[in-house]
């Protein structure tokens, strides 16, 4: 009883003390978004989810709560967003977005330039901000998941004097890490020893092969679409670009199954030590050099993406980011969360694991951090150089649909079902029909 009384009296004293404190200093200032719940649909996967561990910090600072209602890869999220638009269930607030997908959702997301201060937007790499802007609307803020591809290679190949001599005798120029796509082709054919070893490989289906073809067309001096989004790839530059893929396949310098490969197949292929040269994304840099995961660990070199015959580097790029829906009830709170997840601190946390940042200051920071790590420095230097001339996908809502029309034709040329001319003519006609049907021009 005594204990109970003591407890009770202590509680009474504590309550009185708090009351006194409130009287003395006035009510504690309410957090900015007290009681607000932000529903979010976010991209999942180990590479992306580390950032979400910072969300509780934002919740503590603002008083809001984040309820993640969906977490999936981007292809699945894309389908879910389209279903949400169709069903009108778009009152959730924050969604993961990607520069290659963003143009497909013209009504889903709000203009962030009304919600994010101009000086904050100015701190991002402006090429990314441009690629995140559609019809004058800034639809997403980029996170530190900027993607452009550089050339990974097995270093010891270039240390073999006999190989260098044989190469020079055959092709008439010195053997070195390739700087052009013609050199990549020569070397890939030279290295190939199927089925044990291949010169290179490429993504062979879906949007992936069209992206690779797109950047090759640009490197050859051409373009995929005209300014009115009519197809422009059925050109001499487009034909040269496709011929590069066809020649490598015919020479058996790439794995026979490459037309069925996507990113995981390519990454695992290079890590298995059976590929000499591999154009790939920055996210693989750590994996390739991890002895537990990769046979080529310790033997990986990284060079900037090679150039095409027009002297232009390939540089198909994309980036992940966050958007706020048009139907979100509390856009200010949602924009605050997006701002937090893409701020300097968040980008430092995210890029520490390898991915490339999209803020200028964080690029400098990660370069400084990597100066004692030669491999990381080499990776950053190669990607920084490639990023300088990188370009995003054409800003049309029919990008994905156009790629679905183009890629089977590219595959048909590679597998010799059609000639390069026939394949590009058919692809061009199909894209033209699509654009006409959709009233694009």
């Amino acid at each position: 009883m005594k204990t109970l009384l003591c407890g009770a009296s202590r509680a009474a004293i504590a309550t009185a003390s708090i009351a006194a404190a409130v009287c003395a200093f006035g009510p504690a200032q309410a957090a900015e978004f007290d009681g607000v719940t932000i529903e979010a649909k976010l991209i999942g996967g180990q590479q992306y989810e580390a950032l979400y561990a910072r969300i509780p910090e934002w919740e503590a600072a603002t008083g809001a709560r984040v309820n993640v209602i969906s977490i999936k890869n981007h292809f699945e999220l894309d389908k879910e967003f389209k279903s949400d638009i169709a069903a009108g269930t778009t009152s959730w607030c924050v969604g993961s977005n990607h520069s290659s997908f963003a143009s497909q959702y013209p009504t889903l997301y709000t203009d962030l330039s009304d919600l994010i201060a101009e000086d904050v937007v100015a701190e991002f790499v402006q090429a990314n901000i441009k690629a995140a802007t559609f019809d004058g609307k800034l639809v997403m803020l980029p996170r530190a998941q900027f993607d452009v591809s550089a050339l990974y290679y097995q270093k010891d190949i270039y240390e073999d004097a006999e190989k260098a001599k044989a190469f020079e005798a055959k092709f008439g120029y010195p053997f070195a890490v390739p700087e052009t796509w013609t050199e990549v082709k020569d070397q890939a054919i030279f290295f190939a020893d199927p089925p044990n070893f291949y010169g290179t490989q490429y993504a062979g289906k879906d949007e992936a092969i069209v992206g690779r073809y797109y950047e090759m067309v640009v490197a050859e001096g051409g373009k995929l679409f005209n300014d009115d989004f009519s197809p422009a790839f059925n050109s001499e530059e487009g034909k040269r670009a496709l011929q590069w893929f066809v020649d490598l396949y015919n020479a058996k310098a790439v794995p026979a199954g490459t037309t069925n490969y996507l990113w995981d197949d390519l990454g695992n292929g290079f890590a298995s030590g059976t590929i000499a040269l591999n154009l790939d994304w920055p996210g693989w840099a750590g994996f390739f050099n991890d002895p537990a995961a990769s046979i080529v660990a310790g033997n990986v070199g990284v060079a900037p993406a090679p150039k095409g015959s027009a002297g232009v580097r390939t540089g198909w790029s994309g980036f992940h980011g966050f958007s706020v829906t048009q139907d979100c009830e509390n856009k200010e709170a949602a924009a605050s969360l997006v701002d937090f997840l893409t701020n300097e601190e968040s980008q430092k946390v995210e890029s520490a694991a390898g991915p490339l940042p999209s803020r200028t200051a964080v690029w400098d920071y990660v370069s400084e951090q990597a100066k004692d790590d030669p491999y990381r420095s080499e990776v950053l230097a190669a990607f920084k150089e490639t990023a300088a001339t990188a370009f995003a996908v054409p800003p049309t809502p029919f990008w994905i649909e156009a790629t679905n029309l183009i890629y089977p034709e590219l595959q048909a040329a590679i597998l010799a079902d059609k000639t390069v001319d026939e394949a590009l003519q058919d692809a061009s006609d199909a894209v033209n029909d699509l654009m006409l049907e959709e009233g694009v021009y």
Partner: protein, 325 residues
């Protein structure tokens, strides 16, 4: 005063009747619905909500330019444009033809293998239960996982089959199982057959258990060879079971999607494109749901055709056995 109107005794009586009456009686009396309709009403409401309304809505949308990303396009009536586009599209008919080919080859192979398995298991005297359970293992895997499993097995570079063939000295080349036009279809059919042969096996085994012994013994007494006994006694008894399995599996294969989506996604160069990989991509990736629904409705005829065909066969097989229709 004027606010209070005492109710008449007749009204009060009616109210009391209604109060004590069964609610179903009230419904039937008020709406004058026949009892059978009232009894069927829950089923009708549920079926309407989950089948009929979505079916009608998708049929309607097939006459519009409906895009998932533009909900207002649901009201953009374009008549039979989507149907005309589908039936004049060579890619659609190529996918249709491939689906029929897959159906014909996979069903017949599954039937033959399922029949062989069932006959062998029926002869086993010890451990038959364990064998039956083992036979069903492939059915227990999700088709998505089966797709991933065979995608890896048939990978040209790091796949199990090529590595085995190369190690055994059978070949020194990387066979492009999932790329070559014929081999890619073969690989998909292999995966389908692996995962579903046991459906035939189990149903035919059930048929074998149900066969009366007398006709078989009579055949033996009449001097029939084992093959003649099988051909003229066992097989006719099994046919109803085979047709049931065929009808079930034809619907399954006609809507083949998951295994193909994972293994080849209809490629490369549309070499393994089936109806539902084409329709799925058009509807959910390209977001052209109106066009996808039109293709879906044309494709449904395929499923209806095979269902009617196999049920007719089933009926005639039952008639032959004197089992009635």
């Amino acid at each position: 005063m004027g606010l209070h109107h005492p109710t008449s005794p007749i009204i009060r009586l009616k109210c009391m009747e209604l109060f004590h009456a069964d609610p179903r009686d009230i419904l039937m009396k008020r709406l004058k619905l026949p009892p059978w309709l009232v009894l069927l009403m829950p089923a009708i409401i549920i079926l309407s909500a989950v089948v009929l309304i979505p079916l009608l809505l998708s049929l309607y949308s097939s006459f519009t330019s409906y895009r998932l990303t533009r909900p207002d396009s649901l009201f953009n009536w374009i008549g039979t444009f989507n149907y005309e586009k589908a039936v004049t599209d060579a890619k659609f008919w190529a996918a249709f033809g491939r689906t029929v080919l897959l159906l014909a080859v996979a069903l017949n192979l599954e039937m033959l293998l399922g029949l062989s398995l069932a006959l062998m298991i029926s002869k086993v005297t010890r451990g038959q239960r364990a064998l039956r359970t083992m036979m069903m293992f492939p059915m227990m895997f999700s088709p998505i996982l089966v797709g991933f499993q065979f995608k890896f097995i048939f990978n040209d570079n790091v796949g199990l089959v090529n590595n085995a063939l190369q190690s055994l000295g059978v070949t020194d080349t990387a066979i492009p199982w999932l790329v070559d036009g014929k081999l890619a279809m073969f690989s998909i059919i292999f995966a389908e057959v692996w995962t579903s042969t046991s459906v035939f096996g189990i149903l035919i085994l059930a048929g074998l258990y149900a066969i009366p012994r007398d006709p078989l013994e009579a055949a033996k007494v009449d001097g029939c060879t084992p093959f003649q006994s099988f051909r003229f006694v066992t097989l006719p008894f099994l046919m109803p079971f085979i047709y049931i399995a065929m009808a079930i599996r034809s619907l399954d294969v006609a809507r083949a999607y998951d295994i193909v989506q994972i293994m080849t996604n209809g490629g490369p160069a549309r070499r393994t494109e089936l109806l539902w990989t084409l329709i799925g991509r058009t509807g959910y990736v390209d977001a052209r749901m109106g066009y996808a629904n039109a293709m879906g409705y044309v494709s449904i005829f395929l499923a209806i055709f095979f269902t009617i065909y196999f049920f007719k066969k089933l009926q005639s097989a039952r008639k032959e056995l004197g089992m009635g229709v």
